[in-house]
């Protein structure tokens, strides 16, 4: 009985640390595409946390909406952003430079 509690504590601590680390990693990452993919992973870990907190309804909604739909929305927006940018800057270190195309 004691080992179960210790294991549960260890799992909760690891999950909490993973959530915080993932949040910092996604907010600080250089490429936006990587940030969005990390955000989808963050949403899935949040769904795990909801299950640990006895909230299965919230876990279902978070997995579908928070991870899936928000991720799809963000990727679609990023594709629209970069489709205008493809002729100008290099994709690699895309950290919010000002776009200089005078078209449109």
């Amino acid at each position: 009985m004691e080992t179960i509690t210790v294991l549960q504590w260890a799992f909760d601590a690891l999950l909490g640390a993973a959530l915080l680390g993932l949040a910092w990693w996604l907010l600080d990452s250089a490429e936006l595409f990587r940030a969005i993919v990390l955000f989808i992973a963050f949403g899935l870990l949040m769904a795990l946390a909801w299950v640990r907190l006895d909230a299965p309804d919230v876990a279902l909604a978070e997995a579908a909406i928070g991870a899936g739909l928000t991720g799809a929305l963000l990727l679609a927006a990023l594709a629209r952003l970069e489709s205008k940018n493809q002729t100008k800057t290099n994709h690699k270190d895309h950290r919010g430079t000002e776009v200089h195309d005078g078209q449109r």
């Binding site: 601590a13 907010l27 909230a55 928070g66 990023l78 950290r95």
Partner: protein, 102 residues
């Protein structure tokens, strides 16, 4: 049962990280990501504090509030992304202008 407070502290940490990123970064998509992380932090505090009940079933009212909050967060994100794309189409910029700090 004290794992509840662990999750509540994680939620506060997520909120603070998101707030820092919201203020510091200038790209609008990063700000939208930061707002979503802040929202997730708030939801986590709500649901963690709802699990403090005696028996097995937690308090369902904060769960309903967080469900509503998740759906509203995705609608707000969609609208914010559309606004960002329209701003980009009009002005060609995806950042707020650099502010002088003096």
């Amino acid at each position: 049962m004290n794992a509840v407070f662990l999750y509540a502290l994680v939620g506060i940490g997520l909120f603070t990280l998101g707030l820092y990123a919201l203020i510091v970064y200038r790209h609008l998509l990063r700000k939208i990501l930061a707002i979503n992380v802040m929202g997730s932090g708030v939801f986590m505090v709500l649901v963690a504090l709802a699990a403090r009940t005696q028996g097995a079933t937690p308090d369902p009212v904060p769960h309903a509030m967080v469900l509503t909050g998740i759906v509203i967060a995705v609608s707000a994100t969609a609208l914010a992304l559309a606004l960002m794309l329209r701003l980009r189409a009009e002005t060609g910029r995806t950042e707020f202008p650099e502010e002088r700090l003096e």
